[in-house]
């Protein structure tokens, strides 16, 4: 159950629309089902009342939408940002991807969002409705007579279980209480993989990446992937390719995708959220983040506007690539 309600958000949005602070609202819109919430632009209190939703499935990070939508809006654009979204917001500002003056950002608290695939794993398919009831979700399906009650905490998305921060690093206005940067265990899974043998790791990734259907959802949802034209669509890049014709290209795509956001990725987890094949893509990003933290000192992309990403920076004392693999031995 979120601490902030749909009604509070609509009231805030309507107020800002009516007093002229903003001309449009970027918010979560009603989809076909209760769980497929869609990013939507609202222009009036009426539209908000009819279409705006806020529930445990509002995971979408709106920062990326600002790149295209903020420039087009006549006045300011209101955007609701969960704590993790604000990091992407700052990172995009660092990269000059939208005009800060065109945006009115309202920070909202987040209790963690649910993962629909985890819900379906319990309830089965054919979900007709999902409603929050205290700390539970009540699910009705076409195939079950009685509603199924699921504890929300049992179906939280992986990124929310390992939430890195409940603190907003950017906003014009904050609703609810400000949270703290959390000590999360988000690198545990990466560490577990690192501890495996190379063969085991290869088998793990072979299994995961071979499921890729190259739908590009990870790229399209990623707030760091805002290129005017992606390198994979650029014929002059030499790596242009559109489909995962074989396993090399699956790997190539995912290595390059992760490499291109390395140092810029805020670890918002959108890539894994949107992956229809449930590939744990965030692990690739977190591997880079973990490495960068260990090699070059702690760095959280988006924590500060105008911070210099580690891969476009250096010190004369940086470790050698060969030393990367020796570190463990030295400590032993």
């Amino acid at each position: 159950m979120q601490k902030i309600t749909r009604e509070q958000l609509i009231a805030k949005a309507s107020e800002l629309l009516s007093n002229g602070t903003v001309s449009q609202v970027l918010g979560w819109g009603k989809g076909e089902f209760d769980y497929d919430v869609t990013p939507t632009l609202f222009s009036s209190a009426e539209e908000l009342e009819n279409g705006f939703v806020f529930n445990d499935f509002c995971g979408a990070n709106f920062s990326k939408y600002l790149v295209s939508k903020a420039a087009k809006a006549d006045g300011k654009l209101l955007v609701f940002l969960k704590p993790c979204d604000t990091y992407s917001f700052n990172q995009l500002l660092t990269e000059h991807r939208f005009d800060r003056e065109k945006v009115y950002a309202v920070g909202i608290p987040c209790e963690g969002m649910a993962d629909i695939s985890k819900v379906k794993a319990i309830s089965g398919d054919g979900i007709a409705s999902i409603n929050a009831d205290g700390d539970n979700l009540v699910v009705t399906t076409l195939y079950e007579d009685a509603p199924i009650t699921i504890a929300t905490k049992d179906v939280l998305a992986e990124r929310c279980i390992n939430c890195k921060s409940k603190k907003h690093v950017a906003y014009d206005e904050l609703m609810g209480e400000e949270g703290e940067v959390l000590a999360s265990n988000r690198f545990d899974e990466v560490a577990r993989l690192e501890a495996m043998t190379a063969d085991e790791r290869f088998a793990f990734w072979q299994n995961e990446l071979s499921r890729c259907i190259r739908c590009n959802a990870c790229r399209d949802a990623c707030p760091a992937c805002t290129c005017e034209k992606c390198v994979f669509d650029n014929p002059n890049s030499g790596v242009e390719n559109k489909s995962p014709a074989n396993e090399f290209e699956e790997k190539l795509f995912h290595i390059i995708r992760a490499y291109h956001v390395a140092g810029r990725c805020t670890d918002c987890g959108e890539c894994s959220r949107v992956c229809p094949q449930n590939i744990p893509l965030h692990l690739l990003n977190r591997k880079f983040i973990k490495d960068i933290n260990e090699f070059y000192g702690e760095y959280q992309a988006g924590e500060e506007v105008d911070s210099r990403a580690p891969l476009v920076n250096y010190t004369t004392e940086d470790l050698e690539p060969g030393e990367v693999f020796d570190r463990g031995d030295n400590n032993a």
Binding site: A71, T94, E95, H96, R97, C225, T226, C227, E228, K229, C230, V231, N234, N236, S237, G238, V239, H260, V261, R308, A309, L311, V312, N313
Partner: protein
């Protein structure tokens, strides 16, 4: 499709000995685009080059591959050959089948196989080559020298001597810098003023040189050959062109008690002042923080006394925009602050001074008219302790001091000690040293003279603490060779403070996009081979802004920098390297990744309007590469996430084609 000609060189038996050149030529015939393939004994000979020229004409070749020695050897040669044949010189690729094939492999079969592969890679690349034309940019034939010390003065004089106009920007009211404050110079002991002031006069009288004193650089735009610089001329409240420097105002000014910067605060000056008698320009300056008229409108004595009418209380800071082809940084150094060195009691006793202060104390134009007197009571000191390496050669992690050796202290301390013993032979002089470093012509001889002829007591060890007690300074020190602790009652303690770059250097480096090391010394383009150039084209380094230096070294570097500037300004046009980065605006996101990694500051951003497919327009921030500044390293091409940035001559597709050819 290109029409490629392949020319395989035997290099006598150098290549042909381990590579079957005929087989190579034959194999490459079948590569895509190749219409002609041959081999010859010496491709670089006139006959070989003629063979290429004829083949280009005969077969309408558009690209050339020479399989020969290293491109580092003969790429330039074959580019000229191509140009002679009417081709663009950048349509040539070299396959290095000598240094990287025949000379390192002994097996004919393996060598031939590898030579064919290297040839294929070159063919694959040349198929994607495009004609490149080096950019040309005009050169503004004027130079700017930032800093008017001996470095800046020498550079300016040398440039002006070659017939080019030079402007000097100096933030103090006069040029002269640190050298003007010195008494004598080592190792010859001639007086600093006697050799410096004539040069200052030369600067003033040279019609090619303009001096912007009491001024600073406010903004730098542009690039090599074409800098646009904004100079901020601070208000000195005296009209420079009218003031005769007679000094009447200085004498009559009632606000007399202001610390005199030129004498390092050891005496006072009036609110209106001329730093020293030989100042250039010899013009008065009003200190706005000291002048009663400027502070509360009461006084006006100087304006009344000035018969020339030069005083102007309403003067404002002035911004002047100028164009230059080259910029020389000569911002110099300062001694570091002694605030953190409590053990030497610098802040507790007036009789603990820095070496630069000692220079003023012994200078005939200084606060004591050259008589060595203790700052506290004016008595002449009987025992003087010199301490070396104060704040130099410290640990990188130490809270105080610098890691480097300040280089000049050993010699000036020997000079000071020698001068004291010479003028006041009854004075006892101790020098505490860690090492005495005297590389330089006649330097060690000079130091030995101080010890052997003048009886200066050099003690290997360091001073641990100085405690003022009564009118004495209790100095506790170690004598490491005697394994003793010494206790000396000194009258004067002189600290050889480390030197550091002037504080103005850091913001200036940012403006110039010139790089600095962690100590804020400017970095040279190459530590051995290009010591007076900064990595930023058109920016040159003169004097101690690049590292600690004594006067002879500073002057030689200043002249070297001038020579580099003259070489640049002598050109009418600058021809660039055409293998530079360029950005595809349609794909650029304006994310600044490329600009962050560019070592030369060659990338700028502009907001550009783009027509969208739906006929609307959209303004986007996009990168543009300045062809005159880009050196073609390619760092930006990898930083660019979208692949909008590419490198001409080493394009993504070209390198990938080479990879493919090798791996086929």
């Amino acid at each position: 499709m290109q029409r490629v000609g392949v020319f395989v060189c035997w290099c006598g038996s150098n290549i042909a000995g381990t590579v079957d050149v005929k087989a190579v030529a034959e194999a490459l015939k079948n590569e895509p685009g190749v219409v002609f393939s041959t081999d010859y004994q010496y491709m670089c000979s006139q006959a070989g080059q003629d063979m290429i020229i004829n083949a280009v004409k005969e077969h309408n070749l558009t690209g050339i591959v020479v399989c020969s020695c290293s491109p580092r050897m003969h790429e330039a040669t074959f580019r000229k050959t191509a140009a002679a044949a009417g081709l663009n010189p950048y349509m040539v690729e070299i396959a290095n089948i000598r240094e990287q094939c025949s000379w390192v492999h002994k097996d004919m079969a393996l060598g031939t196989e590898k030579a064919i592969i290297l040839g294929k890679a070159a063919v694959a690349k040349v198929n994607l080559n495009a004609p490149l034309t080096p950019g040309q940019s005009p050169v503004t034939k004027r130079a700017l020298v930032i800093g008017g010390g001996i470095a800046g003065i020498q550079t300016a004089l040398d440039i002006a001597d070659a017939g080019f106009e030079v402007d000097i920007v100096e933030k103090k009211p006069t040029i002269g810098g640190k050298m003007a404050q010195l008494d004598k110079t080592f190792p010859t002991l001639d007086c600093a003023a006697c050799i410096l002031t004539p040069k200052m006069v030369d600067v003033a009288q040279n019609d090619k040189i303009r001096i912007f004193s009491y001024s600073e650089v406010a903004e730098v735009k542009g690039f090599v050959g074409n800098f646009d610089v904004t100079i901020k001329k601070n208000a000195r409240y005296v009209k420079e062109d009218i003031c005769t420097g007679c000094g009447a105002c200085v004498e009559k000014c009632p606000m007399k008690k202001n610390p005199n910067e030129f004498n390092l605060g050891m005496d006072n000056r009036p609110a209106i002042y001329i730093p020293f008698a030989q100042a250039v320009p010899k013009v008065a300056t009003i200190d706005p923080n000291a002048c009663n008229m400027l502070k509360n409108g009461k006084c006006g004595v100087c304006a009344r006394i000035c018969t020339a009418g030069a005083i102007d209380y309403t003067q404002k800071d002035e911004y002047i925009e100028e164009k230059y082809g080259a910029i020389v940084v000569a911002t110099g150094f300062n001694p570091i602050s002694m605030d953190k060195f409590d053990e030497f009691a610098y802040n507790q006793s007036k009789d603990v001074i820095t070496s630069l202060e000692f220079e003023r104390l012994t200078n005939a134009a200084g606060p004591t008219a050259g008589h060595l007197e203790r700052p506290s009571d004016g008595r002449s000191p009987k025992t003087i302790v010199f301490v070396q390496c104060v704040g130099s050669r410290c640990d990188a992690c130490a809270e105080k001091g610098k890691e480097y050796c300040s280089k000049i202290c050993c010699m000036y301390t020997a000079k000071h000690a020698m001068l004291v013993r010479d003028k006041y032979p009854e004075t006892e002089v101790y020098v505490f040293y860690i090492d005495v470093r005297t590389p330089g012509k006649n330097f060690d001889e000079f130091y030995r003279r101080a010890v052997e002829e003048y009886g200066v007591k050099y003690v290997k060890g360091m001073v641990g603490k100085v405690v003022p007690e009564g009118d004495k300074l209790k100095v506790q020190a170690s004598d490491l060779l005697a394994n003793k602790q010494l206790h000396i009652d000194a009258d004067l303690v002189v600290l050889a403070a480390a030197i550091e770059p002037d504080k103005s250097a850091r913001p200036l480096a940012t403006m110039l996009t010139a790089s600095m090391d962690t100590n804020d010394f400017f970095t040279e383009a190459h530590p051995k081979l290009r010591p007076v150039e900064s990595p930023t084209a058109g920016v040159f380094l003169s004097g101690a802004c690049q590292g600690p230096k004594d006067i002879p070294e500073t002057v030689s570097q200043a002249s070297a920098a001038a020579a580099k500037v003259i070489g640049l300004l002598a050109k009418d046009k600058l021809t660039g390297n055409p293998c530079i980065a360029h950005s595809d605006e349609l794909m650029c996101n304006g994310c600044s990744s490329c600009a962050n990694v560019c070592p030369y500051g060659a990338i700028t951003y502009e907001d550009k309007e783009f027509r969208m497919p739906d006929r609307t327009t959209k303004v986007r921030r996009v990168a543009s590469v300045n062809p005159a500044v880009c050196q073609g390293c390619g760092a930006c091409t990898v930083a660019c996430p979208s692949g909008a940035m590419d490198l001409k001559g080493f394009a993504n597709l070209q390198i990938m084609a080479e990879v493919d050819a090798i791996c086929k």
